[in-house]
Symmetry: D2
Subunit: 137 residues, 4 copies
Protein backbone atom coordinates (compact mmCIF):
# COMPACT_ATOMS: atom_id res chain seq x y z
CA UNK A 1 0.00 0.00 0.00
CA UNK A 2 1.19 3.46 -0.76
CA UNK A 3 0.54 4.61 2.77
CA UNK A 4 3.08 2.19 4.12
CA UNK A 5 5.55 2.45 1.25
CA UNK A 6 9.01 3.40 2.36
CA UNK A 7 10.27 6.15 0.13
CA UNK A 8 13.94 5.63 -0.56
CA UNK A 9 14.60 9.35 -0.89
CA UNK A 10 13.25 10.15 2.55
CA UNK A 11 15.23 7.22 3.90
CA UNK A 12 18.41 8.70 2.42
CA UNK A 13 17.62 12.05 3.98
CA UNK A 14 17.14 10.40 7.35
CA UNK A 15 20.39 8.43 7.03
CA UNK A 16 22.27 11.57 6.08
CA UNK A 17 21.02 13.33 9.21
CA UNK A 18 21.87 10.35 11.35
CA UNK A 19 25.50 10.40 10.23
CA UNK A 20 25.93 13.35 12.57
CA UNK A 21 25.08 11.12 15.51
CA UNK A 22 27.73 8.49 14.78
CA UNK A 23 30.22 8.13 17.62
CA UNK A 24 33.56 7.59 15.93
CA UNK A 25 36.26 9.71 17.59
CA UNK A 26 38.90 7.09 16.84
CA UNK A 27 38.42 6.42 13.11
CA UNK A 28 36.52 9.50 11.99
CA UNK A 29 34.42 7.19 9.81
CA UNK A 30 30.71 7.87 10.18
CA UNK A 31 28.18 5.25 9.16
CA UNK A 32 24.40 5.11 9.45
CA UNK A 33 22.24 2.13 8.63
CA UNK A 34 18.55 1.44 8.20
CA UNK A 35 16.84 -1.90 8.59
CA UNK A 36 13.50 -2.33 6.84
CA UNK A 37 11.14 -4.89 8.27
CA UNK A 38 7.47 -5.70 8.49
CA UNK A 39 5.27 -6.29 11.51
CA UNK A 40 1.71 -7.45 10.89
CA UNK A 41 1.89 -6.23 7.32
CA UNK A 42 3.09 -2.75 8.27
CA UNK A 43 6.45 -1.65 6.97
CA UNK A 44 8.83 -0.19 9.53
CA UNK A 45 12.38 1.09 9.67
CA UNK A 46 14.95 1.03 12.47
CA UNK A 47 18.11 3.11 12.40
CA UNK A 48 21.58 2.80 13.85
CA UNK A 49 24.99 4.44 13.73
CA UNK A 50 28.47 3.15 14.47
CA UNK A 51 29.52 3.35 18.12
CA UNK A 52 33.26 3.08 18.66
CA UNK A 53 35.14 2.38 21.87
CA UNK A 54 38.59 3.13 23.20
CA UNK A 55 38.96 -0.65 23.34
CA UNK A 56 38.52 -1.00 19.60
CA UNK A 57 37.15 -4.54 19.80
CA UNK A 58 34.04 -3.26 21.59
CA UNK A 59 33.04 -1.11 18.63
CA UNK A 60 29.62 -1.80 17.13
CA UNK A 61 28.97 -1.08 13.45
CA UNK A 62 25.95 0.92 12.28
CA UNK A 63 24.39 -2.14 10.69
CA UNK A 64 24.41 -4.08 13.94
CA UNK A 65 23.21 -1.07 15.91
CA UNK A 66 20.24 -0.82 13.55
CA UNK A 67 19.51 -4.53 13.92
CA UNK A 68 19.62 -4.27 17.72
CA UNK A 69 17.21 -1.34 17.54
CA UNK A 70 14.91 -3.27 15.23
CA UNK A 71 14.88 -6.28 17.54
CA UNK A 72 13.98 -4.05 20.48
CA UNK A 73 11.08 -2.75 18.39
CA UNK A 74 9.80 -6.24 17.63
CA UNK A 75 11.49 -7.04 14.32
CA UNK A 76 11.73 -10.73 13.51
CA UNK A 77 12.78 -10.66 9.84
CA UNK A 78 14.78 -8.09 7.85
CA UNK A 79 13.38 -7.08 4.43
CA UNK A 80 16.22 -4.80 3.33
CA UNK A 81 19.39 -3.15 4.63
CA UNK A 82 20.60 0.34 3.72
CA UNK A 83 24.06 1.68 4.57
CA UNK A 84 25.40 5.22 4.20
CA UNK A 85 28.81 6.53 5.18
CA UNK A 86 30.79 9.76 5.10
CA UNK A 87 33.42 8.07 2.92
CA UNK A 88 33.93 8.94 -0.73
CA UNK A 89 33.03 5.46 -1.91
CA UNK A 90 29.96 3.49 -0.93
CA UNK A 91 31.18 1.05 1.73
CA UNK A 92 29.85 -2.47 2.06
CA UNK A 93 29.01 -4.19 5.36
CA UNK A 94 31.90 -5.93 7.12
CA UNK A 95 31.86 -9.69 7.50
CA UNK A 96 30.59 -9.50 11.07
CA UNK A 97 27.56 -7.46 10.00
CA UNK A 98 26.88 -9.80 7.10
CA UNK A 99 26.76 -12.67 9.58
CA UNK A 100 24.37 -10.81 11.88
CA UNK A 101 22.14 -9.80 8.97
CA UNK A 102 21.90 -13.42 7.89
CA UNK A 103 20.58 -14.37 11.33
CA UNK A 104 17.47 -12.35 10.57
CA UNK A 105 17.20 -12.33 6.78
CA UNK A 106 15.74 -15.54 5.48
CA UNK A 107 15.86 -14.92 1.75
CA UNK A 108 19.27 -15.04 0.07
CA UNK A 109 18.15 -12.39 -2.42
CA UNK A 110 17.44 -9.89 0.37
CA UNK A 111 18.69 -6.49 -0.84
CA UNK A 112 21.65 -4.65 0.67
CA UNK A 113 22.01 -1.09 -0.63
CA UNK A 114 25.07 1.04 0.05
CA UNK A 115 25.53 4.71 -0.78
CA UNK A 116 27.92 7.53 0.05
CA UNK A 117 26.60 10.66 1.76
CA UNK A 118 26.58 12.69 -1.44
CA UNK A 119 24.42 10.01 -3.03
CA UNK A 120 26.74 9.86 -6.03
CA UNK A 121 28.13 6.40 -5.36
CA UNK A 122 25.61 3.62 -5.08
CA UNK A 123 26.31 -0.05 -4.71
CA UNK A 124 23.67 -2.75 -4.48
CA UNK A 125 23.97 -6.39 -3.64
CA UNK A 126 22.14 -9.23 -1.95
CA UNK A 127 22.80 -11.15 1.21
CA UNK A 128 23.48 -14.30 -0.79
CA UNK A 129 26.14 -12.53 -2.80
CA UNK A 130 27.74 -10.98 0.28
CA UNK A 131 27.88 -14.07 2.47
CA UNK A 132 27.67 -17.22 0.36
CA UNK A 133 27.75 -20.56 2.16
CA UNK A 134 27.16 -18.80 5.42
CA UNK A 135 28.26 -20.33 8.69
CA UNK A 136 25.37 -22.05 10.42
CA UNK A 137 24.83 -25.06 12.65
CA UNK B 1 10.98 18.77 37.28
CA UNK B 2 8.32 16.27 38.09
CA UNK B 3 7.03 16.27 34.54
CA UNK B 4 10.30 14.87 33.27
CA UNK B 5 10.98 12.60 36.23
CA UNK B 6 11.54 9.02 35.24
CA UNK B 7 9.46 6.82 37.46
CA UNK B 8 11.38 3.71 38.30
CA UNK B 9 8.25 1.60 38.53
CA UNK B 10 7.14 2.43 34.99
CA UNK B 11 10.67 1.77 33.84
CA UNK B 12 10.55 -1.68 35.41
CA UNK B 13 7.24 -2.38 33.73
CA UNK B 14 8.73 -1.36 30.40
CA UNK B 15 11.82 -3.52 30.93
CA UNK B 16 9.68 -6.49 31.87
CA UNK B 17 7.71 -6.16 28.64
CA UNK B 18 10.89 -5.78 26.63
CA UNK B 19 12.25 -9.08 27.92
CA UNK B 20 9.86 -10.75 25.51
CA UNK B 21 11.69 -9.16 22.60
CA UNK B 22 15.14 -10.46 23.54
CA UNK B 23 16.61 -12.70 20.84
CA UNK B 24 18.38 -15.47 22.72
CA UNK B 25 17.62 -18.82 21.12
CA UNK B 26 21.07 -20.15 22.09
CA UNK B 27 21.30 -19.33 25.80
CA UNK B 28 17.66 -18.82 26.72
CA UNK B 29 18.78 -15.89 28.87
CA UNK B 30 16.66 -12.80 28.30
CA UNK B 31 18.00 -9.39 29.28
CA UNK B 32 16.59 -5.90 28.81
CA UNK B 33 18.39 -2.67 29.63
CA UNK B 34 17.49 0.98 29.89
CA UNK B 35 19.87 3.90 29.52
CA UNK B 36 18.82 7.18 31.13
CA UNK B 37 20.26 10.34 29.66
CA UNK B 38 19.52 14.00 29.29
CA UNK B 39 19.31 16.15 26.18
CA UNK B 40 18.89 19.89 26.67
CA UNK B 41 17.66 19.33 30.20
CA UNK B 42 15.05 16.81 29.20
CA UNK B 43 15.35 13.32 30.63
CA UNK B 44 15.10 10.49 28.14
CA UNK B 45 15.39 6.71 28.12
CA UNK B 46 16.62 4.30 25.48
CA UNK B 47 16.00 0.57 25.62
CA UNK B 48 17.77 -2.51 24.36
CA UNK B 49 17.66 -6.29 24.57
CA UNK B 50 20.28 -8.96 24.06
CA UNK B 51 20.71 -10.12 20.46
CA UNK B 52 22.50 -13.43 20.11
CA UNK B 53 24.06 -14.95 17.02
CA UNK B 54 24.84 -18.45 15.83
CA UNK B 55 28.45 -17.25 15.84
CA UNK B 56 28.42 -16.59 19.57
CA UNK B 57 31.09 -13.89 19.41
CA UNK B 58 28.74 -11.66 17.43
CA UNK B 59 26.23 -11.53 20.27
CA UNK B 60 25.39 -8.07 21.61
CA UNK B 61 24.30 -7.66 25.24
CA UNK B 62 21.18 -5.69 26.19
CA UNK B 63 23.25 -2.95 27.81
CA UNK B 64 25.19 -2.28 24.63
CA UNK B 65 22.05 -2.47 22.50
CA UNK B 66 20.50 0.20 24.71
CA UNK B 67 23.61 2.37 24.42
CA UNK B 68 23.60 2.05 20.62
CA UNK B 69 19.94 3.04 20.59
CA UNK B 70 20.63 6.02 22.84
CA UNK B 71 23.50 7.19 20.63
CA UNK B 72 21.25 7.01 17.58
CA UNK B 73 18.77 9.18 19.49
CA UNK B 74 21.40 11.80 20.29
CA UNK B 75 22.66 10.71 23.72
CA UNK B 76 26.09 12.02 24.65
CA UNK B 77 26.25 11.14 28.35
CA UNK B 78 24.64 8.33 30.35
CA UNK B 79 22.98 9.27 33.66
CA UNK B 80 22.00 5.81 34.82
CA UNK B 81 21.85 2.21 33.64
CA UNK B 82 19.12 -0.30 34.49
CA UNK B 83 19.36 -4.03 33.77
CA UNK B 84 16.65 -6.69 34.09
CA UNK B 85 16.88 -10.37 33.24
CA UNK B 86 14.75 -13.47 33.33
CA UNK B 87 17.25 -15.12 35.67
CA UNK B 88 16.47 -15.82 39.31
CA UNK B 89 19.23 -13.55 40.54
CA UNK B 90 19.83 -9.96 39.48
CA UNK B 91 22.67 -10.16 36.97
CA UNK B 92 25.37 -7.51 36.69
CA UNK B 93 26.75 -6.15 33.41
CA UNK B 94 29.59 -8.14 31.84
CA UNK B 95 33.03 -6.58 31.59
CA UNK B 96 32.52 -5.61 27.96
CA UNK B 97 29.38 -3.67 28.81
CA UNK B 98 31.08 -1.98 31.75
CA UNK B 99 33.78 -0.77 29.37
CA UNK B 100 31.22 0.56 26.89
CA UNK B 101 29.25 2.28 29.65
CA UNK B 102 32.39 4.02 30.84
CA UNK B 103 32.90 5.49 27.37
CA UNK B 104 29.74 7.52 27.92
CA UNK B 105 29.43 7.88 31.69
CA UNK B 106 31.68 10.59 33.02
CA UNK B 107 31.00 10.32 36.73
CA UNK B 108 32.42 7.33 38.57
CA UNK B 109 29.42 7.32 40.90
CA UNK B 110 26.99 6.86 38.00
CA UNK B 111 24.37 4.38 39.15
CA UNK B 112 23.95 0.88 37.75
CA UNK B 113 20.80 -0.86 38.93
CA UNK B 114 20.12 -4.54 38.35
CA UNK B 115 16.94 -6.44 39.08
CA UNK B 116 15.36 -9.79 38.30
CA UNK B 117 12.07 -9.94 36.43
CA UNK B 118 10.04 -10.63 39.55
CA UNK B 119 11.52 -7.52 41.11
CA UNK B 120 12.45 -9.48 44.22
CA UNK B 121 16.21 -9.36 43.73
CA UNK B 122 17.74 -5.93 43.42
CA UNK B 123 21.41 -5.07 43.20
CA UNK B 124 22.79 -1.57 42.93
CA UNK B 125 26.28 -0.39 42.23
CA UNK B 126 28.19 2.40 40.53
CA UNK B 127 30.38 2.48 37.46
CA UNK B 128 33.44 3.20 39.58
CA UNK B 129 32.79 0.13 41.68
CA UNK B 130 32.18 -2.07 38.64
CA UNK B 131 35.16 -1.00 36.55
CA UNK B 132 37.85 0.55 38.74
CA UNK B 133 41.02 1.78 37.05
CA UNK B 134 39.30 1.51 33.72
CA UNK B 135 41.32 1.02 30.56
CA UNK B 136 41.81 4.31 28.75
CA UNK B 137 44.46 5.95 26.59
CA UNK C 1 61.28 -27.68 -0.62
CA UNK C 2 59.98 -31.02 0.47
CA UNK C 3 61.46 -30.58 3.92
CA UNK C 4 59.21 -27.63 4.59
CA UNK C 5 56.16 -28.98 2.78
CA UNK C 6 53.10 -29.04 4.97
CA UNK C 7 51.50 -32.43 4.66
CA UNK C 8 47.75 -32.06 4.74
CA UNK C 9 47.28 -35.41 6.41
CA UNK C 10 49.50 -34.53 9.36
CA UNK C 11 47.73 -31.21 9.57
CA UNK C 12 44.39 -33.00 9.83
CA UNK C 13 45.74 -35.23 12.55
CA UNK C 14 46.94 -32.20 14.45
CA UNK C 15 43.59 -30.43 14.06
CA UNK C 16 41.75 -33.51 15.23
CA UNK C 17 43.86 -33.63 18.39
CA UNK C 18 43.37 -29.91 18.98
CA UNK C 19 39.59 -30.28 18.96
CA UNK C 20 39.94 -31.69 22.46
CA UNK C 21 41.34 -28.38 23.64
CA UNK C 22 38.43 -26.25 22.42
CA UNK C 23 36.71 -24.42 25.26
CA UNK C 24 33.02 -24.55 24.40
CA UNK C 25 30.97 -25.42 27.49
CA UNK C 26 28.06 -23.31 26.24
CA UNK C 27 27.55 -24.56 22.68
CA UNK C 28 29.30 -27.90 22.75
CA UNK C 29 30.65 -27.10 19.28
CA UNK C 30 34.38 -27.75 19.00
CA UNK C 31 36.39 -26.12 16.25
CA UNK C 32 40.11 -26.10 15.49
CA UNK C 33 41.80 -24.03 12.83
CA UNK C 34 45.22 -23.88 11.22
CA UNK C 35 46.75 -20.87 9.53
CA UNK C 36 49.51 -21.55 7.01
CA UNK C 37 51.99 -18.78 6.40
CA UNK C 38 55.53 -18.21 5.27
CA UNK C 39 58.37 -16.39 6.99
CA UNK C 40 61.58 -15.91 5.01
CA UNK C 41 60.59 -18.67 2.66
CA UNK C 42 59.91 -21.16 5.42
CA UNK C 43 56.39 -22.55 5.70
CA UNK C 44 54.85 -22.43 9.14
CA UNK C 45 51.52 -23.25 10.77
CA UNK C 46 49.72 -21.69 13.73
CA UNK C 47 46.78 -23.33 15.46
CA UNK C 48 43.78 -22.15 17.38
CA UNK C 49 40.55 -23.41 18.93
CA UNK C 50 37.29 -21.71 19.78
CA UNK C 51 37.20 -20.06 23.20
CA UNK C 52 33.70 -19.32 24.46
CA UNK C 53 32.65 -17.03 27.28
CA UNK C 54 29.69 -16.81 29.63
CA UNK C 55 29.11 -13.42 28.01
CA UNK C 56 28.58 -14.94 24.57
CA UNK C 57 29.75 -11.85 22.70
CA UNK C 58 33.26 -12.32 24.05
CA UNK C 59 33.63 -15.68 22.35
CA UNK C 60 36.53 -16.02 19.92
CA UNK C 61 36.28 -18.46 17.01
CA UNK C 62 39.03 -20.98 16.24
CA UNK C 63 39.96 -19.17 13.04
CA UNK C 64 40.63 -15.91 14.84
CA UNK C 65 42.47 -17.67 17.66
CA UNK C 66 44.76 -19.21 15.06
CA UNK C 67 45.33 -15.84 13.40
CA UNK C 68 46.18 -14.22 16.75
CA UNK C 69 48.64 -17.03 17.41
CA UNK C 70 50.19 -16.61 13.98
CA UNK C 71 50.59 -12.86 14.46
CA UNK C 72 52.33 -13.45 17.78
CA UNK C 73 54.69 -15.78 15.93
CA UNK C 74 55.51 -13.18 13.29
CA UNK C 75 53.01 -13.97 10.52
CA UNK C 76 52.34 -11.12 8.13
CA UNK C 77 50.42 -12.89 5.36
CA UNK C 78 48.16 -15.95 5.42
CA UNK C 79 48.71 -18.57 2.70
CA UNK C 80 45.85 -20.90 3.56
CA UNK C 81 43.23 -21.53 6.23
CA UNK C 82 42.05 -24.92 7.45
CA UNK C 83 39.01 -25.46 9.66
CA UNK C 84 37.85 -28.65 11.38
CA UNK C 85 34.88 -29.11 13.68
CA UNK C 86 33.16 -31.84 15.64
CA UNK C 87 29.96 -31.25 13.66
CA UNK C 88 28.63 -33.74 11.14
CA UNK C 89 28.98 -31.32 8.26
CA UNK C 90 32.06 -29.30 7.36
CA UNK C 91 31.39 -25.83 8.72
CA UNK C 92 32.53 -22.66 6.97
CA UNK C 93 34.05 -19.62 8.71
CA UNK C 94 31.58 -17.08 10.09
CA UNK C 95 31.47 -13.61 8.58
CA UNK C 96 33.59 -12.13 11.35
CA UNK C 97 36.36 -14.63 10.71
CA UNK C 98 36.18 -14.03 6.97
CA UNK C 99 36.71 -10.33 7.62
CA UNK C 100 39.71 -11.00 9.87
CA UNK C 101 41.21 -13.44 7.36
CA UNK C 102 40.96 -10.81 4.64
CA UNK C 103 43.01 -8.40 6.75
CA UNK C 104 45.95 -10.75 6.32
CA UNK C 105 45.29 -12.62 3.07
CA UNK C 106 46.18 -10.54 0.07
CA UNK C 107 45.16 -12.87 -2.74
CA UNK C 108 41.45 -13.35 -3.36
CA UNK C 109 42.07 -16.92 -4.44
CA UNK C 110 43.62 -17.80 -1.07
CA UNK C 111 42.33 -21.26 -0.15
CA UNK C 112 39.96 -21.97 2.73
CA UNK C 113 39.53 -25.66 3.45
CA UNK C 114 36.88 -27.02 5.81
CA UNK C 115 36.46 -30.58 6.98
CA UNK C 116 34.56 -32.51 9.62
CA UNK C 117 36.44 -34.51 12.24
CA UNK C 118 35.80 -37.81 10.52
CA UNK C 119 37.30 -36.39 7.36
CA UNK C 120 34.33 -37.55 5.35
CA UNK C 121 32.90 -34.11 4.58
CA UNK C 122 35.25 -31.70 2.85
CA UNK C 123 34.42 -28.25 1.57
CA UNK C 124 36.86 -25.98 -0.21
CA UNK C 125 36.53 -22.37 -1.15
CA UNK C 126 38.55 -19.20 -1.56
CA UNK C 127 38.57 -15.95 0.34
CA UNK C 128 37.20 -14.11 -2.66
CA UNK C 129 34.26 -16.47 -2.85
CA UNK C 130 33.57 -16.24 0.87
CA UNK C 131 33.78 -12.45 1.26
CA UNK C 132 33.26 -10.73 -2.09
CA UNK C 133 33.42 -6.95 -2.16
CA UNK C 134 34.92 -6.95 1.30
CA UNK C 135 34.57 -3.97 3.57
CA UNK C 136 37.68 -1.81 3.46
CA UNK C 137 38.55 1.86 3.78
CA UNK D 1 61.10 -25.93 41.50
CA UNK D 2 63.64 -23.38 40.49
CA UNK D 3 63.98 -24.94 37.08
CA UNK D 4 60.39 -24.13 36.25
CA UNK D 5 60.27 -20.76 38.01
CA UNK D 6 59.20 -17.99 35.73
CA UNK D 7 61.62 -15.14 36.09
CA UNK D 8 59.79 -11.86 35.85
CA UNK D 9 62.74 -10.09 34.24
CA UNK D 10 62.97 -12.57 31.38
CA UNK D 11 59.23 -12.33 30.99
CA UNK D 12 59.52 -8.56 30.63
CA UNK D 13 62.24 -8.97 28.03
CA UNK D 14 60.04 -11.36 26.09
CA UNK D 15 57.04 -9.03 26.28
CA UNK D 16 59.16 -6.11 25.11
CA UNK D 17 60.28 -8.07 22.06
CA UNK D 18 56.73 -9.16 21.35
CA UNK D 19 55.51 -5.57 21.17
CA UNK D 20 57.12 -5.43 17.75
CA UNK D 21 54.72 -8.10 16.53
CA UNK D 22 51.55 -6.28 17.55
CA UNK D 23 49.31 -5.54 14.57
CA UNK D 24 47.89 -2.10 15.25
CA UNK D 25 47.99 0.03 12.10
CA UNK D 26 44.83 1.86 13.14
CA UNK D 27 45.58 2.95 16.71
CA UNK D 28 49.36 2.71 16.84
CA UNK D 29 48.99 1.26 20.34
CA UNK D 30 51.08 -1.86 20.81
CA UNK D 31 50.28 -4.28 23.60
CA UNK D 32 51.74 -7.66 24.54
CA UNK D 33 50.41 -9.96 27.22
CA UNK D 34 51.59 -13.09 28.98
CA UNK D 35 49.39 -15.66 30.66
CA UNK D 36 51.02 -17.81 33.31
CA UNK D 37 49.49 -21.19 33.97
CA UNK D 38 50.34 -24.62 35.24
CA UNK D 39 49.92 -28.01 33.61
CA UNK D 40 50.69 -31.07 35.71
CA UNK D 41 52.70 -28.96 38.12
CA UNK D 42 54.83 -27.42 35.40
CA UNK D 43 54.68 -23.66 34.99
CA UNK D 44 54.10 -22.39 31.48
CA UNK D 45 53.57 -19.07 29.73
CA UNK D 46 51.55 -18.17 26.64
CA UNK D 47 51.94 -14.88 24.82
CA UNK D 48 49.73 -12.67 22.72
CA UNK D 49 49.65 -9.27 21.05
CA UNK D 50 46.79 -7.02 19.98
CA UNK D 51 45.43 -7.72 16.51
CA UNK D 52 43.40 -4.86 15.07
CA UNK D 53 41.02 -4.91 12.12
CA UNK D 54 39.74 -2.37 9.63
CA UNK D 55 36.33 -3.19 11.11
CA UNK D 56 37.33 -1.99 14.56
CA UNK D 57 34.89 -4.25 16.38
CA UNK D 58 36.81 -7.32 15.22
CA UNK D 59 39.94 -6.22 17.04
CA UNK D 60 41.32 -8.65 19.63
CA UNK D 61 43.30 -7.34 22.60
CA UNK D 62 46.66 -8.80 23.59
CA UNK D 63 45.24 -10.28 26.76
CA UNK D 64 42.62 -12.26 24.89
CA UNK D 65 45.12 -13.32 22.23
CA UNK D 66 47.33 -14.69 24.99
CA UNK D 67 44.42 -16.53 26.56
CA UNK D 68 43.45 -18.08 23.21
CA UNK D 69 47.05 -19.20 22.77
CA UNK D 70 47.12 -20.67 26.26
CA UNK D 71 43.88 -22.59 25.69
CA UNK D 72 45.29 -24.04 22.47
CA UNK D 73 48.30 -25.18 24.50
CA UNK D 74 46.14 -26.91 27.07
CA UNK D 75 45.70 -24.23 29.75
CA UNK D 76 42.71 -24.71 32.02
CA UNK D 77 43.40 -22.14 34.74
CA UNK D 78 45.29 -18.83 34.68
CA UNK D 79 47.76 -18.18 37.52
CA UNK D 80 48.76 -14.65 36.58
CA UNK D 81 48.39 -12.08 33.80
CA UNK D 82 51.08 -9.66 32.63
CA UNK D 83 50.43 -6.73 30.30
CA UNK D 84 52.96 -4.43 28.62
CA UNK D 85 52.28 -1.61 26.19
CA UNK D 86 54.17 1.02 24.23
CA UNK D 87 52.23 3.75 26.04
CA UNK D 88 53.82 6.07 28.57
CA UNK D 89 51.61 4.86 31.39
CA UNK D 90 51.00 1.26 32.37
CA UNK D 91 47.62 0.39 30.87
CA UNK D 92 45.12 -1.87 32.56
CA UNK D 93 43.05 -4.55 30.81
CA UNK D 94 39.78 -3.38 29.24
CA UNK D 95 36.51 -4.65 30.63
CA UNK D 96 36.15 -7.26 27.91
CA UNK D 97 39.53 -8.77 28.79
CA UNK D 98 38.72 -8.73 32.49
CA UNK D 99 35.60 -10.76 31.73
CA UNK D 100 37.54 -13.28 29.66
CA UNK D 101 40.26 -13.57 32.32
CA UNK D 102 37.62 -14.32 34.93
CA UNK D 103 36.37 -17.24 32.85
CA UNK D 104 39.67 -18.97 33.51
CA UNK D 105 40.95 -17.48 36.78
CA UNK D 106 39.25 -19.07 39.74
CA UNK D 107 40.82 -17.10 42.56
CA UNK D 108 39.72 -13.50 43.01
CA UNK D 109 43.19 -12.57 44.25
CA UNK D 110 44.79 -13.72 40.99
CA UNK D 111 47.49 -11.16 40.12
CA UNK D 112 47.29 -8.80 37.14
CA UNK D 113 50.52 -6.91 36.51
CA UNK D 114 50.79 -4.02 34.08
CA UNK D 115 53.94 -2.22 33.01
CA UNK D 116 55.04 0.23 30.34
CA UNK D 117 57.76 -0.77 27.89
CA UNK D 118 60.43 1.25 29.68
CA UNK D 119 59.59 -0.63 32.86
CA UNK D 120 59.33 2.63 34.76
CA UNK D 121 55.59 2.53 35.33
CA UNK D 122 54.26 -0.53 37.11
CA UNK D 123 50.74 -1.14 38.24
CA UNK D 124 49.54 -4.24 40.04
CA UNK D 125 46.07 -5.39 40.87
CA UNK D 126 43.98 -8.51 41.27
CA UNK D 127 41.13 -9.91 39.26
CA UNK D 128 38.74 -9.33 42.15
CA UNK D 129 39.67 -5.67 42.27
CA UNK D 130 39.37 -5.25 38.50
CA UNK D 131 36.03 -7.01 38.00
CA UNK D 132 34.09 -7.12 41.25
CA UNK D 133 30.68 -8.81 41.21
CA UNK D 134 31.48 -10.27 37.86
CA UNK D 135 28.73 -11.25 35.45
CA UNK D 136 28.03 -14.97 35.64
CA UNK D 137 25.06 -17.28 35.25
Amino acid sequence: MSSTKIHTESLKTELSEMLGKAYSPYSGVKVAAAVEYEVNGEKKVAYGVNVENVSYGLTVCAERSAISAAIAQGMTSISALHVMSNQEQAISPCGACRQVVTEFMGQVDGPVMCVNQAGTEVWESTLGQLLPNRFDL
